[in-house]
C-alpha cells in the first residue's frame, strides 16, 4: 500500500499547485467563460481557459505561491 501512497503523496506535494491550476482554476475559468457566453460559438476556447489555469499553476509552482500573494 505504501509503495503507492507514498509516491502519490510526494507527487501531489511537488505538483499540487500545477494540478490545482489546471483542474480547479481551469474549470472555474471555463465556467465563467460559459456564463459570459464566450463558448457559445467557439467551444474550442475551453482549451484556452484550461491552459490559462495550467499557466497559473505552473507560475505558482515556480514562484512558490499564487500570483495574488506576494512572493516570499
Amino acid at each position: 500500500m505504501n509503495t503507492i501512497i507514498t509516491p502519490l503523496i510526494n507527487h501531489i506535494k511537488a505538483w499540487n499547485m500545477v494540478w490545482f491550476g489546471l483542474i480547479f482554476w481551469g474549470s472555474v475559468l471555463n465556467a465563467f467563460a460559459g456564463e459570459l457566453g464566450l463558448l457559445t460559438n467557439n467551444p474550442d476556447l475551453s482549451y484556452l481557459f484550461f491552459l490559462l489555469g495550467l499557466i497559473l499553476g505552473l507560475t505558482a509552482k515556480f514562484r512558490g505561491t499564487w500570483l495574488w500573494i506576494p512572493a516570499k
Partner: protein, 294 residues
C-alpha cells in the same frame, strides 16, 4: 507584599477556580459544529437542484465557515470528553465534521494547536507565529492564504515528536481526501465548488487568523501570563467569537468557551495580579456586549 496576599493569588487557587468552570459539557458547541456542517452540506443539493440560487447560498456557506473552527477547537483540547476515554469519540466526531467547510484535517489542527499552546509567540516553534507577527491586517490576510500548508515546515522542527509526526501523517490523508473531493466537484460543478467551498474556506481562514491569532497575540511576549492579551474591538463580542477573552483560554484551556466570561469575572483579581496585558481593563461583569471601546 503582604504574605497572606501571596497565598490568595497562588497558582493553586487560580487553578481551583478555573477548574470549577471546566466541568460543563459544551452542548452549544456540539450544536454549532454539527449544525453549521449540516447547513453547509445541505447547500450543495439545494443549489445544484436550483432550489436556492448560488448568490444566496454563497454567503450562507461563508457564515458556516466562520462558525466551523471553535467546535473543533474545544475538541482539540478534549473539552467534550474531559478525560473520559469512553467519550473521546465525541471530540473526534465533532471536530472532523465541523471542519469540513474549512477543509482542515482534525489531526493536523490538534497537533499544531497543542504546539501553539506550548510555544506561544516563539518565533521558531509557534506554528501560528507568522500570523501573530504580521504587521497589518493585509499581511494577515495574505499569509492566511497558505492554509494548513504553512504547517508543513514544522514537521522538521518537531521531527523528534513521534505523536506530532503521526498526527501529521493521518491528517495528510484527510487533507488529500479534501483536495480530491474539491477537484472532483469542480469538474462537475465549477462555480459551486468555487463559491460554496473554496471561497468560504478562505474567508473562514482569514477570519480565524485575524481574530483567533493576530489580535490576541499581536506584539505579545512569551510566557504564561504575557503571551496573550485582553483587547478591545468596535464590534460586539459575538461577532468575533469573544476572542477578546482569548487569554483565559491560554491560561486554562479546559474552561469551556461559553463559560469563559464567568471564569474571567472570577479570575480577574488573579489576572491583574499576574500582569496579564489589558487585565486592568476587564469589566467587572462580562455581559454579551460590554467590551466596546470607542
Amino acid at each position: 507584599m503582604d504574605p497572606s496576599q501571596v497565598d490568595i493569588y497562588s497558582f493553586a487557587n487560580e487553578k481551583e477556580i478555573a477548574r470549577s468552570f471546566s466541568k460543563r459539557f459544551q452542548w452549544e458547541m456540539v450544536l454549532i459544529g454539527l449544525g453549521q456542517a449540516t447547513v453547509f452540506l445541505s447547500l450543495w443539493p439545494l443549489v445544484i437542484l436550483n432550489i436556492i440560487p448560488l448568490w444566496i447560498a454563497a454567503p450562507i456557506s461563508c457564515l458556516c465557515a466562520l462558525f466551523a473552527y471553535l467546535p473543533s477547537h474545544e475538541a482539540q483540547h478534549g473539552n467534550y470528553s474531559r478525560g473520559n476515554a469512553d467519550k473521546r469519540w465525541i471530540d473526534s466526531l465533532v471536530s472532523h465534521i465541523t471542519l469540513i467547510p474549512l477543509m482542515f484535517p482534525h489531526h493536523i489542527m490538534r497537533a499544531t494547536h497543542m504546539k501553539h499552546h506550548a510555544y506561544t509567540n516563539d518565533p521558531h516553534k509557534d506554528v501560528d507565529y507568522d500570523t501573530a507577527s504580521s504587521n497589518s491586517l493585509l499581511e494577515v490576510f495574505l499569509r492566511s492564504n497558505e492554509s494548513t500548508a504553512k504547517y508543513d515546515k514544522y514537521l522538521e522542527v518537531f521531527k523528534d515528536d513521534k505523536n506530532f509526526v503521526k498526527s501529521f501523517e493521518k491528517g495528510g490523508l484527510v487533507g488529500l481526501a479534501y483536495r480530491s473531493t474539491l477537484m472532483t466537484l469542480v469538474i462537475f460543478f465549477p462555480l459551486e465548488a468555487l463559491f460554496l467551498w473554496w471561497l468560504p474556506s478562505k474567508v473562514g481562514v482569514m477570519y480565524l487568523s485575524t481574530f483567533f491569532s493576530w489580535y490576541p497575540h499581536y506584539q505579545m511576549e512569551t510566557g504564561r501570563y504575557k503571551d496573550t492579551r485582553f483587547w478591545h474591538h468596535l464590534l460586539p463580542r459575538y461577532v468575533n467569537h469573544s476572542m477578546q477573552l482569548h487569554f483565559v483560554h491560554h491560561l486554562h484551556p479546559g474552561i469551556g468557551h461559553f463559560d469563559e466570561p464567568k471564569a474571567i469575572e472570577a479570575l480577574k483579581p488573579f489576572l491583574i495580579e499576574k500582569g496579564v496585558p489589558g487585565a486592568d481593563q476587564i469589566p467587572d461583569r462580562v455581559s454579551y456586549n460590554p467590551l466596546i471601546k470607542f
